[in-house]
Symmetry: C2
Amino acid sequence: MDRLIERIMEKGNPTAVGLDTRLEYVPDFLIQKHKEKEPLDFRGAAGAILEFNKRIIDAVSDLVPAVKIQLACYELYGVEGMRTFSETIRYAKQRGLIVIGDGKRNDIGTTAKAYSSAYLGRTTLLAEQDRAFETDIMTVNPYLGFDGVEPFLEDCRTYDKDIFILVKTSNLSSGDFQDLMTGNRRIYEAVADKVAEWGRDLIGRFGFSRAGAVVGATWPDQAAALRQRMPHTFFLVPGYGAQGGSADDIAGCFDERGLGAVINASRSILCAYRKGSAEQPAGENFAEAARDEVLRMKKEIGNALFQNGRKPW
Amino acid sequence: MDRLIERIMEKGNPTAVGLDTRLEYVPDFLIQKHKEKEPLDFRGAAGAILEFNKRIIDAVSDLVPAVKIQLACYELYGVEGMRTFSETIRYAKQRGLIVIGDGKRNDIGTTAKAYSSAYLGRTTLLAEQDRAFETDIMTVNPYLGFDGVEPFLEDCRTYDKDIFILVKTSNLSSGDFQDLMTGNRRIYEAVADKVAEWGRDLIGRFGFSRAGAVVGATWPDQAAALRQRMPHTFFLVPGYGAQGGSADDIAGCFDERGLGAVINASRSILCAYRKGSAEQPAGENFAEAARDEVLRMKKEIGNALFQNGRKPW
């Protein structure tokens, strides 16, 4: 989390680009180019997506601290999709970006350990150890309780990694279980309290723990209350842009220093080229459009933080 | 679920073999054989695990209705591990087994749709559609609520598939959140009620819905109460064997017909060869030992059901 915060301050930008890339986001001209080389089966599709991702990364790597890679979008293309996931991580890290793996993994202890080893720790192969996927931070679902989260926390400690645990998610139905009352708290508040407790001995030099929280941009009041409730917990905030969260909505996720959250936007950046004029229908400008959208979002969030009394770095 | 129940009745056995295979479960003689061919890096390890899985499947496919494949154990070996996951599915299906993918996937609607397409539905590739991973049933985590589960239910309907939604998990910390009281119910009971509601219009000819529930063998009283609470919900019951759940513990998961659950055991079957005499230290007998353990478990569960007045088929 310290490194993430350093990069946020260096770049003056608390946003992550969400690489939730699907084949239908890839502009026509890239599709055509790949179709000429090989059939667009899983392998061809995964190849086109990898090229798209690399060009997005090249276009934004000087502007953002991190990318968030949505695992579902790569599992969608099978084994070849997972290869593109792996190579996208490698490319983003080469470009100096922090990589958040968004897989919302969860299981009982011994199995959670396998997930954690795969994404944060090491895989033991007879005598040696190696990394399966080189993510820096992973998202984790807390429904199974502490022993399902502990293996991730252990690897955070051992390998200088971090996690974001789901607390209040951005979707409309998040209330189905997360908003149920238990005693005088809602379930997501009970989860928040546990996340703060689990992360208590993992607090870094900016005052934030290696155990972060996912808090949706679409719930501004709850987010602001959670910011008070868990002052040492860094937030990953999805739901900005295409899902409806605005800059004012996320201001409450930050403290007076302007720290406390990384805001993710995916579709609004990846598909920014579709919003422009119809002059380039094949999407040749997709990377520039993504860059422009990242700049616009940076400015919008900076303004909102300034207006809300959260000092922009 | 109908097909799963048919197979359970055909084979007189409500158990699934959990292929939570890790390199350290693979017996020495197989490791040595693979080491002679290629280095035991991710590819070599994934190759050894695939051979192990195939031989286990060959040894048990006439005895059990299904295998449950734990995704974490394959992600642990990176892209090559995912290839072994995919090929293990294919092999198990060729041998007539139903394949439960245990990934506990979860996300907001649009992303949950990608997971569902990857494991139950179809991936759209320009004009065509293809399957990323050919699982029959997938496990799903409910923390995000209905809109995170609905895409899976849709694919269940469209593609004749099924899911098991986490209700009460087998691990010790499952109570951290699942056992919290909300009104006069515990959270896992609130989840159970929603699972029953979501699955209401997906009930098959044996009276069980396509939306099943994961209920741990380690919580016999809760499981028996859930059996009453959700009479149309089929259970996937992990935690038998190595995790401590006994045959008597799981009797309450079944109704008077002896239907209602598939019981999973993993380590106790995969590593059965280690419990035997020290005569075959290299584990050449691992497949026979797994078969013997499956037979022992079948008998043990059959007896327990009979003694508890649940007619064994």
